[in-house]
């Protein structure tokens, strides 16, 4: 090969620039999205939930959730009092995916509770990961890097809300991503998009125009297991004390 010194000196910086662009990877999929401008959470209004299972079905279709595993699910609470003793029954057939058969319980307090990842600001699951495969994104979403996950299951044990599972084929931990691929494009999550009564609503706590602020100001909101100080960002309206 005839390569003069002059050509060599031109080619080396060119090759270096090309290599830099290879290492930098492809540009962002959503160029207008700035992670520092958002802080995601969700509003769940138990008084509006009809237990239809639309959210569970939508999540499964949107995210290819394997059969028998749920990134979001619905629980039915039935609280009855017999001779002064309170009995709490909780059921969730197929995660509530196909709705609930009527129990015809008379005199019981009954309601549905949609559940999913609480996207805690101080999440126990990310703290236990030994390899940095699960993390809090800068915009407040708890995510999993499937390429880094070893499948050790520490996070599944650490989550106090039972939101994680091990994917049966990929052998990596999976959970609700708050539809990160949708919310970064300006869409809402699949569960919120499909909730017919508006019982679930995506909330951007950093957006001053988001209706969440008005709702939080005018309602008595609660999160699940507040004593664990996880700073959960799933805000429940009308949450009964029996719910765990």
């Amino acid at each position: 090969m005839n390569l003069t010194r002059r050509h060599f000196l031109v080619l080396v910086p060119a090759a270096a620039v090309a290599w830099e662009s290879v290492v930098a990877g492809t540009p962002e999929a959503s160029p207008n999205y700035n992670t520092s401008e958002h802080w995601w959470g969700m509003l769940v209004d138990i008084e509006k939930c009809i237990g239809c299972g639309s959210c569970v079905r939508a999540c499964a279709k949107e995210n290819n959730v394997p059969d028998g595993y749920y990134r979001t699910w619905i629980e039915r609470y039935q609280i009855s009092e017999v001779n002064g003793v309170e009995t709490i029954e909780v059921d969730s057939p197929n995660g509530g995916m196909y709705g609930f058969p009527d129990s015809h319980k008379v005199g019981a307090k009954a309601f549905f509770v949609p559940k999913m990842c609480n996207h805690c600001a101080d999440s126990p699951c990310t703290q236990v990961c030994p390899v940095g495969a699960t993390f809090d994104s800068p915009d407040g979403v708890v995510l999993i890097d499937e390429k880094y996950c070893l499948g050790c299951r520490y996070c599944i044990q650490a989550c106090p809300y039972g939101c994680r599972f091990l994917h049966p084929e990929k052998n990596v931990a999976q959970k609700c991503t708050l539809c990160y691929h949708r919310i970064t494009q300006g869409l809402t999550t699949a569960c919120c998009e499909n909730c017919p009564t508006g019982a679930q609503q995506l909330a951007d706590l950093k957006n001053p125009k988001d209706p969440i602020h008005e709702f939080l100001r005018t309602h008595s909101m609660q999160m699940l297991k507040p004593h664990l100080a996880t700073e959960a960002k799933l805000f429940y309206n009308g949450l009964d004390g029996a719910v765990r």
Binding site: G51, A108, G132, Y180, N194
Partner: protein, 156 residues
């Protein structure tokens, strides 16, 4: 006193230096470039998670073409129900509206998913026992699904 076997120590130090160098080099090669970009994780994972394709196009996309349905829907009780909540995921239809058409829905089964009576549902939510209410007749025989009150354009 002069230390006699300094060469031993130098050799040991050499081994340490080589070990340290190879550790730094191997680490630099194995740890992905974006690790630590935002925190103790691979920053590129965010881009990879974002790249997942969507199945539900979203209500705004439906509105762009189906203004007529939107007008009917806005008049009735289903104004706040998004299209895909009943019609299913239609991002593919939105990308290729001519070749990919949504399925026609069976209202005898579809409507019951929400409106079948259940003691755990909120009391104000409209519920029927479908066996008593219509005896298996498709709901759209009387109600228009997009604006369901009787008299909003149903057949009866």
């Amino acid at each position: 006193m002069k230390f006699k076997d300094a060469a031993h120590l130098l050799r040991l130090a050499g081994v340490f230096v080589v070990g340290l160098l190879s550790f730094v080099l191997v680490r630099g090669y194995l740890v992905p470039k974006s690790f630590g970009q935002y925190g103790h994780y691979r920053g590129a994972a965010l881009t990879e998670i974002k790249a997942q394709p969507i199945s539900y196009a979203g209500h705004d996309t439906c509105e762009a073409c189906h203004q007529d349905v939107l007008e009917t829907k806005n008049k009735g009780k289903h104004a706040h129900v998004n299209c895909e909540a009943c019609h299913g995921p239609l991002a593919k239809h939105a990308d290729n509206p001519i070749e990919i058409k949504p399925e026609l829905l069976d209202t005898a089964k579809l409507c019951a998913k929400c409106h079948e009576a259940n003691s755990a549902k909120p009391k104000h939510f409209p519920q029927v026992v479908s066996a008593e209410h219509s005896a298996g007749l498709a709901c759209k025989e009387c109600h228009t699904p997009h604006s369901p009150a009787i008299g909003d354009g149903g057949k009866k």
